[in-house]
Amino acid sequence: MTALHLRRAGMALAAILLLIWSLGPVYWALATSLMKPTDIAASPVNLVPPSITFEHYAKLVGGLFGQPDETGIWRDFLRALGNSLVLAGGATIATTAIAAIAAYAAVRLEFPGRNLVFYMIVATLAVPGYTVLIPLYRMMVGLGWVDTYGGIILIYISAYLPLSMWLMRSVYESLPLSIEEAAFLDGAGRLYTMVRIVMPLALPGLIAAAILTFLGAWGQFAVPLVFAPTAATKPLTVLIPEFATKNYVDYGLINAAGVFAMIPPALVVIFLNRFLLSGLMAGTGK
């Protein structure tokens, strides 16, 4: 009885510690972003904002609502936010669509060399993405694709496609063949069957592949650091660290910008966690 109680108390304590370890830094970023500069620089440290202010957020997006702003930070910030959305969104849609079709071909269509193609592509998961940055840079400079959405999205697709194909293959393999055979008997063609019959059944897998690609592309740093040198394509992950390289580091501003960049992944974790977990388990566990 007491041993059981002790064990329960131990587990509860461990759960609380794990929760603080995981969410503590996120809370601290949020709290800092809502504090006045004087409260941020206070000693002893303020664990809870003594008073709430939105001034840091106003610097980032206030210009959008017609607020006068002499720093002009909001233009850069909104530009980078837009770039992040275009790059991650474009990479997600393209990667998921390509993986959905190519993995279907690898599972259901007999063609010479299909296993070789599939395993070669999946084997690139073992190649660290950084390995190819230098030759890619020379190639992209030659093609004039540096600092273009298309060039960066193509790099993202090549980086995240292997995992998505691996995932989609296990999804298709788990679907019963009989459904497709029934569709053929009814006179449906391959493409029609793939798009109208198989894809809807594979939807949870497609969502999982899309989530993994989106999170990867949204958080990418090294690729845009090299390939997105100007405001034309520079995403949040490259812009935000630049806030700190000035002589004066505005921690309220940095944390407010960081909170913005955390929102999409946090929404995914809160609302699509089921798909995320199944994707992670299928993507790494089989």
């Binding site: 461990a14 759960a15 794990l18 929760l19 995981s22 969410l23 830094p25 996120v26 601290w28 941020i40 620089a41 000693s43 002893p44 440290v45 390509i98 079709i101 190519a102 071909a105 690898a106 269509l109 007999e110 063609f111 193609v117 070669m120 592509i121 690139t124 073992a126 190649v127 660290p128 950084y130 390995t131 190819v132 940055l133 230098i134 030759p135 890619l136 840079y137 190639m139 193509l154 790099i155 090549s158 496609l161 391959r190 493409l191 958080g219 992950t237 935000i240 660290p241 921690y251 940095i254 944390n255 960081g258 960049a261 955390m262 992944p265 966690n273 995320l276 977990l277 388990m281 566990g285």
Partner: protein, 313 residues
């Protein structure tokens, strides 16, 4: 003689779909090739050819500052051995690998065991645990950099409030604490993935096995060692492999926390400096190839070992 037979040949007529089937098989192959070809071209252009080029160029002298690309043999590789900056970066990288992999494995296993044993709220705790992995690594590093801030940071603030240190420490100033600080940020981000991988494996272990171990009088630790760990050895291998490859390629965290500082610069930081600041492309490529080979080699050692151990069990 054969005419009546031919006229009365419904069984053969029933075979009419046969060419249709053949056609479908061959059109399947055609469709398969059409659907797979763009992917093959993309991966060739963005991965296979660049990897081959990296290997090729690493035996040449390639830099935009000097004309020509002469063959230099292994000079780019031998140069690494005597380059103090590269040696220092490797030393830092090995520290990250050893510290991050062991912490991620132990903490990940602990979190997975805890989550597996929970009756209420597992879904919510799991969501909280996975969150750091989902966030942009750069943003994580900036938040932690603010936590480590010597003047107003949370770490010094908490330690001073609880009287654990007398005055504020500058965490990023000496190499030991700076390396640990970078490692912690990396572990914060990558441990959740291990927890998920191991939790998935734990959930496949039938309850009866634990009950049987309890009946046999095995204690908690003994059950863990003799029942749980052997049964999840495959997942442990995957967790080890992914932790090792990501730790070998650590870049974002070190770069945000300390820029190019030699105290924390990992090998990927060294490559970035060599290629994109000093513009010594082929020298950086030789380093890239080395990192790739070392990280694949180290992880295949685990995979083989785990594979052998599970087979003997």
């Amino acid at each position: 003689m054969s005419t009546p037979d031919a006229a009365l040949a419904p069984p053969f007529a029933a075979e009419v779909p046969k060419p249709g089937l053949l056609q479908r098989v061959s059109s399947d192959a055609g469709l398969g090739i059409v659907l797979a070809l763009p992917v093959v071209i993309l991966m060739a252009a963005f991965v296979f050819v660049p990897v081959a080029l990296t290997a090729w160029d690493s035996f040449h002298r390639v830099t935009p500052m000097l004309p020509g690309e002469p063959f230099v043999g292994f000079r780019n590789y031998t140069r690494m051995l005597s380059d103090p900056a590269v040696r220092n970066a490797w030393w830092n990288t090995w520290f990250y690998v050893a510290a991050a992999v062991s912490l991620e494995l132990v903490l990940g296993l602990g979190a997975a065991l805890l989550l597996n044993g929970m009756k209420h709220g597992r879904r919510w705790l799991l969501a909280a645990v996975i969150l750091p992995w989902a966030l942009p690594p750069v943003v994580n590093a900036m938040v932690w950099s603010w936590i480590y801030n010597p003047h107003y940071g949370l770490l010094n603030g908490l330690l001073m409030r609880f009287g654990l240190i007398g005055e504020a420490r500058v965490w990023m100033n000496d190499q030991a604490s700076a390396l640990i600080c970078v490692t912690l940020v990396h572990v914060w981000r990558m441990m959740p993935l291990n927890a998920v991988i191991l939790l998935a494996a734990l959930q496949t272990i039938p309850r009866e096995l634990y009950e049987a171990a309890e009946v046999d009088g095995a204690g908690r630790l003994k059950t863990l060692r003799l029942v749980t760990l052997p049964l999840i050895s495959g997942a442990l291998g995957i967790a080890l492999t992914q932790s090792t490859i990501t730790a070998f390629n650590i870049f974002d965290e070190a770069w945000i926390l300390a820029k190019a500082s030699a105290l924390t610069r990992p090998i990927q930081g060294q490559i970035y400096m060599t290629a994109f600041q000093d513009l010594k492309f082929s020298y950086g490529m030789a380093m890239s190839i080395t990192v790739m080979l070392v990280s694949i080699l180290v992880s295949s050692v685990y995979v083989l070992r785990i594979y052998r151990e599970t087979r003997f069990d």
